[in-house]
Assembly symmetry: C2
């Protein structure tokens, strides 16, 4: 992450603390190369070895309290106004700093709802309680869910322009795949082709390479999140691909669907067309309703109900998630009211959040039809960041 964005984000955090009226936000970590609090990447940018505290205050003060051997590194980068190195224990400078500010509310990074706000391990929580033994500060703990959700969700203009580039580069790779697909090539061959292109262009994959890209050809394919297999593309198959890159620290996440024409066919059979159109229309119906203040669960319902009404099974996952430095980013999501999604379906959406919309359905005997677009919430609606797929792509060979 560039120092520029880190500075923007720390400044944004101060504003969010004011808005939420939280006096201090404490990120408490150790050995970040082993168990990294995901927030480190947003507001620190460096790793740390020993117990370290990164403190952002509502009044704009910032503190990095780290092992003395790492002091130089943090002084050099200049992100935190106060850099305090310690030799034997973090306890003394930590208690001293908190006491000096005497915060009434201290946000720490734990969350049942959002993995991105849940970077504090249970062991580190116990250590923190020990360090603060005999003080009143543990009674002032609140969770930082809201802070982190706002910080990650509300993309700065620098972040938005990087994400647009990421999407553009991803769609170029989809175009190459359209030219590569033909009967006889296997899911694995298509995936390998994509990985080679990504490497050649110097990008990273947005998620685990075992299912990035995920490629599904024909009926009876594996579910989402499964890796590509040796199954070969055949005429009469619906083929879909789920794929994204990490570009300058930000992810893209898109899906496209193709149909492989049989001998003599000039267009896809009506049931294949209907499946694709149902997906496409459900995306547009959601986009028409997305705006600040609506809830993800209601958006999921719009697409889910449309698909059910057309006679298909409902998709066994959420409609869409936020995208950012992580491919599944932010707090709020376009999720159904299922327990596994915690409170994420119920959080009102905010301006400048970026979401995927990715419904899916099965066209019996042909395959899985699925399209995934990325949109950004605007002041009074939403805008597509990806050029939407409006037509089923036909493979003619």
């Amino acid at each position: 992450m560039s120092a520029k964005i880190l500075k923007e984000k720390i400044q944004q955090a101060v504003e969010i603390l004011k808005e939420k009226n939280i006096d201090m936000w404490l990120t408490f970590v150790r050995e970040s190369s082993i168990t990294a609090d995901p927030v480190m990447d947003m507001i620190v940018g460096e790793g740390c070895t020993w117990q370290s505290a990164f403190i952002i205050c509502k009044d704009g003060d910032t503190y990095a309290i780290i092992g003395s051997l790492e002091k130089d590194k943090y002084e050099k980068n200049g992100l935190y106004k106060n850099v305090i190195g310690y030799l034997k224990s973090v306890r003394e400078p930590l208690v001293e700093t908190i006491s000096k500010k005497n915060p009434q509310k201290i946000a720490i990074n734990y969350s049942k709802n959002s993995v991105l706000a849940d970077g504090l391990t249970y062991g580190m929580y116990q250590i923190l309680l020990e360090h603060l033994e005999g003080t009143d500060y543990p009674n002032r703990f609140v969770n930082s869910e809201e802070i982190i959700s706002a910080l990650r969700g509300r993309k700065s203009s620098t972040e938005i322009s990087i994400m647009k580039e990421a999407i553009k580069e991803t769609l170029k790779i989809f175009d190459s795949v359209t030219r590569f697909i033909k009967p006889g090539v296997s899911e694995i061959q298509i995936a390998d082709y994509v990985k080679k292109l990504v490497k050649k262009k110097g990008f990273e994959l947005a998620w685990d390479e075992d299912h990035c890209p995920a490629v599904f050809t024909g009926p009876d394919t594996q579910g989402a999140h499964s890796g590509p297999t040796n199954k070969k593309v055949k005429p009469g198959h619906i083929l879909s691909m789920d794929f994204g890159i990490k570009y300058k620290g930000y992810c893209s996440d898109l899906q496209r669907t193709w149909y492989v024409l049989k001998k003599g066919e000039k267009k896809a059979p009506p049931e294949v067309e209907k499946g694709f159109n149902t997906i496409r229309d459900s995306i547009q119906m959601v986009a028409d309703q997305l705006k600040p203040g609506v809830k993800g669960c209601d958006m999921d319902e719009v697409a889910r109900n449309h698909i059910l009404a057309q006679g298909y099974d409902e998709y066994p996952h959420g409609l869409g998630h936020q995208v950012g430095k992580q491919v599944h980013d932010g707090g709020a999501g376009l999720y159904p009211r299922w327990e596994r999604y915690g409170n994420a379906p119920y959080l009102p959406l905010e301006e400048n959040q970026v979401f995927t919309i990715e419904p899916r359905l099965l066209v019996k005997e042909f395959g899985t039809s699925t399209v995934e677009e990325e949109v950004i919430i605007t002041k009074d609606g939403c805008k597509f960041l990806s050029k939407p797929q409006k037509k089923l792509m036909l493979i003619k060979r």
Copy 2:
């Protein structure tokens, strides 16, 4: 990590559960690409998206309970005997599985002492308590520190042979550096040369590239864990480098020291020789005493006291740490009795653990002398895995 080692490690875990008399070991995780429990890499090898439970039992039974979309992946790899996919909540299959086994002790992954055993986040801990509400199981929780420490520490023969290769490859790179060093090149140039070599050979760096390698030339250098600077090598400098690679999933970590001869010098000045020899001798003194059952704090003391007795300041860090999949691995370490090291200095060492020995001292007006070797604990002593540096290396140009 190869499936072979994962299978070895799961089997080893069953043996350790028997030895420690713990009925069940529960690893409870979600979105492992964001906050990964470090144990995933040892006993799972795959990522997971939704709340997932990986259960290993003393009686040899193993369970993977994961989101239904990821069931295929876990069935394919065959590491867990029982693979259970769920759609809406992990609660039911989790409670059912635990109830069936009715364990008296359930180890979960939290630890104040070892970051490698502290993969359970505080939010996930709270979720686990919710899932088990109304049962007696939370009263049976113990931490998995001992299990993970034994599992990571006790290297299998496959692991040892990979680690030997990693060290061999690392020392080859040190040899190239010896030929590259000359007056006028900067710390950054040396580091860039090393990174290029690593890339060319297809290895990864063992830790953050901002200080891997760490290069220190001459007096008044930055401390350990600082990145290289534009400072240039000059005649009369002591130069040292701290560097390791990640090779087939396992790390190396070594340091070497050079002296840059001044015009007319044929050997290093006596004070430089004395500094190097003090380091070298302190390493050998420790190696002579290392064996199963001794404590790391006593080993640290051997080297620390020798260095103090020779009139130098003590090094501001531990003498050595375990190495494995992580560059700082395992539980026990050769650490002083300082609070920041928790209980790691006091754990008895075990056969087949791999440690670094890395004392450091400052030779005034010349620079930092530091050597780091890797040793493996044997049945009744230890063996060097790296060919030890016995003489100061002289740069003649």
